[in-house]
């Protein structure tokens, strides 16, 4: 089995799975009907993308594992998503800040992944990009609306950005699998995205009349499976059915 490719696919897929689950938690709990529907629609896009990635990972693994096994039956330390996507919904400002900080990265990342020598990854990237451009419009729009809104909405939006900011640097860390895949022309060199990411984010924050946080201290570990305490709770929800009724199918 192509170990590096397998790990590389999980690195991409786990971000979408965990963020999709977070957004899915808002079903029936969004601040308004429209935002509720928007967040869950975005969640659905993530789950769709994740299926394609895990199906491919299962094929690469070449053992008896299915896409469902890979998605549902790993332990916390075996998930390699970035810390940003596992952060809780807290309030709508946090939901939007997390989405915005991820969407800008996700769009840049997929634009590069589209050029991958691996035709499956390239096809998934092309398909996903169309959806992600809508996600980015949604989160950017709300970031501006809340940032440049009332005193209270601005305060909350700024607080969320400040808090989640510490999770952004990790997006540009390379794992060993990343390095090997970049070398083979399959993976994206995330270190090269960093500058344009922060430039873009800063521009939009400015438009939203928000301050770019000055903190130089950043969290890391997600890509190595070392997570914040939030992931365990999320997984216990996500995996509940498969753990309680092993091998169940809808």
């Amino acid at each position: 089995m192509k170990q590096n490719l397998y790990k590389y696919i999980l690195g991409i897929a786990d971000n979408s799975l965990i963020l999709g689950q977070r957004l899915g938690e808002l079903t029936g709990h969004g601040p308004s009907l429209e935002t509720d529907i928007a967040c869950t629609n975005i969640s659905l896009d993530f789950f769709g993308q994740v299926r394609s990635y895990y199906q491919y990972a299962a094929k690469i693994a070449g053992d008896k594992r299915t896409e469902d096994d890979i998605a549902m039956l790993r332990k916390e330390r075996e998930y390699v998503n970035v810390l940003l996507v596992e952060q809780p919904n807290t309030n709508f400002a946090y939901t939007i800040a997390r989405q915005f900080l991820f969407d800008v990265y996700h769009f840049l990342f997929l634009t590069e992944l589209e050029k991958s020598k691996d035709l499956t990854l390239s096809a998934i990237a092309t398909k996903s990009l169309k959806e992600v451009s809508y996600h980015q419009r949604f989160s950017t729009d709300w970031l501006k609306r809340l940032g440049d809104g009332t005193t209270e909405s601005k305060e909350k939006m700024q607080e969320a950005i400040n808090d989640l900011w510490t999770c952004t640097d990790e997006l540009f860390h390379q794992t060993e699998a990343d390095k090997a895949m970049v070398k083979d022309g399959i993976g994206v060199d995330v270190t090269a995205l960093k500058e344009v990411y922060y430039k873009k984010v800063n521009e939009i924050l400015e438009e939203a009349t928000l301050e770019t946080p000055e903190s130089k201290w950043f969290q890391k570990g997600g890509k190595q499976g070392i997570h914040t305490e939030h992931l365990g709770y999320l997984l216990s929800d996500l995996q509940y059915m498969q753990r309680t009724y092993p091998n169940m199918e809808w």
Binding site: E34, Y56, D68, L119, K127
Partner: protein
Amino acid sequence: MNKTEHITRSSENSSPLGKVDGAFVAILESVSDPEIPVLSIMDMGVVRSAVIENNIVKVEITPTYSGCPAMDVIGDDIKAALKTAGYDSEIELILAPAWTTDWITPRGRKALEDYGIAAPLNAEADKEVLLNGKRLVKCTNCSSTNTRLVSQFGSTACKAQFQCDDCQEPFDYFKCLK
């Protein structure tokens, strides 16, 4: 989540209607999108090919949005329709080339409008409407373009919510996907 998915690349499939053997056109036209029952999957442009090999009809379909929950149902409906006509079939879900709203046929666009869903504008106009609040989408009730975006996301992944400021009709707009 147990269907196998294969991803193939082919440029010859990029026309609105793929390589569909004449014998299957009418059968496939009888299958509709479960979310939009007036629209056949042929007019929707999701059928990429249908050819018979060793007595089995191989049908390739492409998802509109990655997470579209209608795809599994559409696959089952195609199998059932072909079975009724006496054919065994295999359904393959393909991702490349990626589906675009350009593949919806003129007849499909009309069916959408008649059903109360505004058909997608071109990419430029779509952007103006969804990002800059331009009033370009025609109301499906009174045809006025004095309409405004209520939400970029609607009742399904492919639609946005609009309201007409002349007749007050709320309606769905099928978002442009290119």
